[in-house]
Amino acid sequence: MMSKLELKEDKMLEVQFVGDDDVLNHILDREGGAKLKKERAQLLVNTKKIIKKPEYDLEEDGQEVLKDQNYVEVLGRDIQESLKNGSAADGGNKVYSFQNRKHSEKMAKLASELAKTPRKNVSLSLKNDPEIMINIPQCSKGKILPHDKSEFLSTAPSGLRKRLIVPRSHSDSESEYSASNSEDDDGVAQEYEEDTDEVILNQKIPSQNRAISAPVCKETPSKKMKRDKTSDLVEEYFEAHSSSKVLTSDRTLQKLKRAKLDQQTLRNLLSKVSPSFSAELKQLNQQYEQLFHKWMLQLRLGFNIVLYGLGSKRDLLERFRTTVLQDSIHVVINGFFPGISVKSILNSITEEVLDHMGTFRSVLDQLDWIVNKFKEDSSLELFLLIHNLDSQMLRGDKSQQIIGQLSSLRNIYLMASIDHLNAPLMWDHAKQSLYNWLWYETTTYSPYTEETSYENSLLVKQSGSLPLSSLTHVLRSLTPNARGIFRLLIKYQLDNQDNPSYIALFCVLWYGYPYVGIFFSRLFLVNSDLTLRAQLTEFRDHKLIRTKKGTDGVEYLLIPVDSGTLNDFLEKEEEES
């Protein structure tokens, strides 16, 4: 059935139905039956793309074809860009491109490039092109060294070549390098000698100079050019990931004589750094602060908000909290806190928000209870602020499912931040629809001071100060008897730490065998099995002791604090008493 149009006086149209034959005649008259032959593929994406790009017209049947390129264009670039959004700045192509060929000395090269031109921009890597990347050090070498290339290679002192070449095979060498990715096979012996010299030299040369003097790339660009680019990249990937051989220098922090810093020292040192770009950062933050009311509006209308982008968003969320949430019930959750769990989140909701004192069989039961409570009482409103929803402790599937279910409630509003680069992978479609996110980019460049303070970074000394202070703190709140028992446990653990059988006693302890009770009651610390059991449970609740399943399936007890801290603690206790 086709329709025919008629114009009416009041500008409105009317559709009349006419017979197929008439329509056919109509078409044939107008078209002359000629133009319809043109074949066009049907794209799912958008018709306008078909029109613009005849090269896609090759599809012969009218099937709907998905074209990635169109998709990228439409979602990535085609639209006028918002100025504030970094995700719009580059299309995905750069981020997801293959890695360039890397050499171990690249970093030092780059550093020296940057260092050499303090207030100028140096071209480091030109648009991810591997060939050009390789060329850079050579092009810029003139700046660093007075020699030309050939001179340099032949006459450069070994100290300057230090990052360069080390034979692949000399694993028994005591030099700084156990391996290198240099492709030279010649001059093995010579370089070996140079290598040993170099260690001596290195000690004399200040670090700054050393780094500058590094850049050399022995491979000629022409040789490189010949390689097939793509296969090279792919090979490169598998080369790097298949072999267990590690092509980096062997230097360790110990040799550097740079002691690991503890959290406190680190903080003190960093406090001396004067912040740069504070005006610009402030401006950024002000932009985000203007969104506070909009966020509130969107939260109240059933969306949840997730903040992403480089830099800690903790302060921003804190300001949001203090500006607009003062009169509402809200819970702040530090996802980066190592002891956080969904259980503790649910507990604070049931116990502190809903004033419920009972216990629950399982987390799911607890969730059900909360959900019912919020569904029953629509006047109840709760804001959840989660810093780092993607933290180690919360990123698990179950945790996300539960938090998602909470956030899907009409009267629970969730505002969260994510930082990890793969954070969105936590959510499948089902979870995403539970969360009902609106994404907001809030790049702040603020240091992640709080977020990283709990992290066991390689470079930060695991100082005992934190567990020690909390240990003292918790024990102060216990009865003298309990302290006595705990002291006994500490002593036992310290005395027996090298003795494999010590675990056995602890296990027996837990099960409260009579003679263990005697062991304690002899010291008049406990008078019955029951009190001992209660005491141990209390310790466990305070995380002073931990149970651990042994290979035989029996639970053992353990104080999860290193012996140094325990010794410190005992000393301190003795001083005080």
């Binding site: 149009l5 066009r40 998905l66 998709y71 639209i79 860009e81 959004n85 995700s87 700045a89 491109s97 890397k102 690249k106 970093m107 030092a108 780059l110 550093a111 303090p118 890597s125 648009k127 990715n181 980096t248 220098s249 062997d250 360790t252 020292t265 040192l269 960093l270 750094v273 770009f277 506070f292 009311h293 209308l301 480089l310 909290r321 009169d327 019930i329 809200h330 819970v331 530090n334 996802g335 956080i340 503790s344 989140i345 604070s348 799911l364 994510i418 930082d419 990890h420 680069l421 499948d428 089902a430 609106l438 994404w439 907001y440 980019e441 460049y445 990283t452 390689l458 470079l459 202070s469």
Partner: protein, 607 residues
């Protein structure tokens, strides 16, 4: 109260009770914190009204679309139920008795929409077939014990609603031990108890049945573990004569999965019938038809916005729910950011509102690009009048809005005609779906396209792109980038940009650089990041730290140096530690034990 502590991670803030009572109404947030707050109350109300209408329209639509599917499902259930009844009398069909009637419901990959479908399905079944409808999800049933527990608790929950609250104590007991036996005896109990009474009010059709079947919906059949499924099917087929079970499998992929999950011995215990739900693309077409290609709702989307929404749909999730969410956000953004959206309502109401427009709003109208273009085309006296005389302006707006309205009603009519006409042409030159045609027409003059050629000159006057219409800004939402930012964000690209090109965010001349370069005064984390890109799989911390120190020291050289070099080195080292810890938090590196003082890179490529 502080929100950081070494001993806990959750902080609850409860303002005192009195304060809490006066919670801020939502509309207050609508006008706070922006410069343009003209008519914001009215705008918010209009938003609420239109959104409610759209929402109920989609719900109704969903119901209608599901109706066919549900009807055939219900028919199937009734048929198999009557089979139960017959068999119970006729003991000859022993074999038939072992077969559990099973409906395999192919729902498609848009899992997010399934919940809604199941909810209305449950309702429909409860109204038409049986009060005992239970739905289970794989995540609740890791093993057969949990499976039965959930089943039992939901079943007993089903009857608690009706049998007052007496069942609550039983629930607790049932949780500890449930088996098919206990379920059967429960069923026996419940049917005998209710038989003589027959008091049900709602269930007119089901009340005639003496023992209604138990319908079990497995929402995500694919996610269940094979063992649980097999065990349950075998067990319940044994008890089928005393526990009349009917299964409904929710399937997102293809029916083949049933045979992949269940061996022949088990699947032969099922009497499976297939049901196909409406394809989500057809669903989308209907939704578009009812919400956008109509004059019923004044609100419209620009070509790019529609494009973004359909692309998210087609490329990401096939989810109608998400599409509606995008529509809601567009609506909200439109009313939030466009002060003139107050006129985005039905025509009589809009005409009424024109009379109450403030001076500011009149100015806003004069500033609209489309209105300015319109004014430029007028005679000079009229131009002056439009720009100075408020009353004259308002009258003009009246007629312009009328025109806009007429334009739309013609537009959609003609669009449908054109679609009817072209959609049956071979190779679909203007698209198979009306939304494709709509997008093309929204974007530009359709007759300029080659495909259109000489066809239908008549339509030309009616399919003008909306931008040609004065005041189109009032009803068209065109901020496509906001939608993309908030619905389909790319956090990783944002991270990449922030690390590679700090100038993008921090507009400081010192940070200005060519593409692919980074100035050495850039934030520490950017420098550490840039350096780490030069490494392969593992990174030596000492090398990294030295390289970092080199760059940073060079950058600082110009600054006045009051502190000793040793202290300065320490500070630089501390900054390096901070940058490395932050990169670890962001997931670029992780500690490794493969080699002393090394970290492993977690990314391959530019980011």
């Amino acid at each position: 109260m502080a929100t950081s502590s070494v001993s806990k991670g959750c902080f609850v803030f409860k303002p005192n009770f009195k304060k809490r009572k006066i919670s801020v109404p939502v509309e207050d947030y609508f006008n706070k914190g922006k410069n343009e707050s003209e008519d914001s109350k009215l705008r918010f109300e209009t938003y609420q009204l239109i959104w409610q209408q759209m929402k109920s329209e989609t719900e109704q639509l969903q119901e209608e679309l599901n109706k066919n599917l549900f009807d055939s499902l219900i028919e199937f259930l009734q048929k198999s139920y009557s089979g139960f009844q017959k068999n119970s009398k006729d003991w000859g069909c022993q074999i038939k008795l072992r077969e559990i009637p099973t409906a395999a419901l192919i729902l498609g990959v848009n899992v997010t929409d399934h919940d809604l479908t199941f909810r209305s399905l449950t309702e429909a079944l409860q109204n038409n077939v049986t009060p005992y409808v239970v739905s289970l999800q794989a995540k609740d049933c890791p093993d057969i014990k949990h499976f039965l527990q959930k089943l039992a608790s939901q079943l007993t929950g089903c009857c608690v609603d009706e049998e007052s609250k007496e069942g609550s104590t039983q629930v607790a007991q049932k949780k500890t031990h449930c088996s098919m036996d206990s379920l059967s005896s429960w069923y026996m109990n419940i049917t005998q108890k209710t038989d003589p009474k027959m008091p049900r009010k709602k269930r007119t059709s089901s009340s005639q049945w003496q023992s209604p079947p138990v319908v079990l919906i497995l929402k995500d059949m694919e996610s269940f573990t094979t063992k649980v499924l097999q065990d349950f099917i075998i067990m319940s087929s044994q008890h089928l004569h005393e526990f009349p079970l009917i299964l409904i499998f929710g399937i997102a992929t293809s029916p083949v999965i049933i045979h992949r999950l269940l061996p022949h011995a088990v699947s032969s215990l099922l009497c499976i019938e297939l049901f196909q739900s409406l394809s989500c693309k057809d669903h989308l077409t209907t939704v578009l038809d009812k919400l956008l290609l109509t004059t019923q709702f004044p609100f419209k989307l620009s070509e790019k916005v529609l494009q973004i929404l359909t692309n998210i749909f087609l490329y990401h999730d096939f989810s109608i729910q998400n599409f509606i969410k995008g529509l809601q956000l567009s609506l909200l953004e439109h009313f939030y950011s466009q002060p003139l959206s107050v006129l985005c309502c039905n025509l009589p109401e809009a005409k009424r509102r024109i009379n109450f427009l403030s001076d500011n709003q009149c100015e806003n109208i004069r500033r609209l690009p489309s209105f300015r273009r319109y004014v430029e085309k007028q005679a000079s006296e009229k131009q002056v009048a439009l720009l100075t005389d408020e009353r004259f302006l308002k009258e003009e707006i009246q007629s312009l809005l009328e025109n806009l309205h007429a334009y739309h009603s013609n537009y959609f009519l003609v669009l449908r005609c054109l679609h009817q006409f072209t959609s049956s042409l071979p190779k679909y030159p203007l698209g198979r779906q009306i939304r494709e045609l709509y997008c093309t027409c929204l974007e530009k003059n359709i007759w300029d396209s080659e495909e259109y050629v000489s066809a239908l000159q008549l339509l030309r006057d009616y399919l003008l792109p909306p931008e040609t219409q004065p005041l189109h800004e009032v009803v068209y939402f065109s901020a496509a980038h906001t939608l993309r930012e908030h619905l389909n964000a790319a956090p990783r690209i944002a991270l990449h940009t922030a690390l590679n090109n700090p100038y993008y965010y921090l507009k400081n001349e010192a940070l200005k650089s060519e593409e692919g370069c980074i100035p050495n005064v850039a934030p520490d984390i950017c420098i550490a990041y840039k350096l780490h890109l030069e490494c392969s799989r593992l990174i030596n911390l000492v090398d990294w730290s030295e390289a970092f120190a080199t760059v940073v020291t060079a950058a600082e050289k110009m600054d006045a140096n009051f502190i000793t070099s040793e202290e300065r080195n320490e500070i630089i080292h501390a900054r390096f530690i901070r940058a490395v810890s932050e990169l670890e938090l962001l997931g670029f590196i992780k500690p490794t034990k493969q080699k002393t003082d090394h970290v492993a890179r977690l990314t391959w490529g530019g980011c």
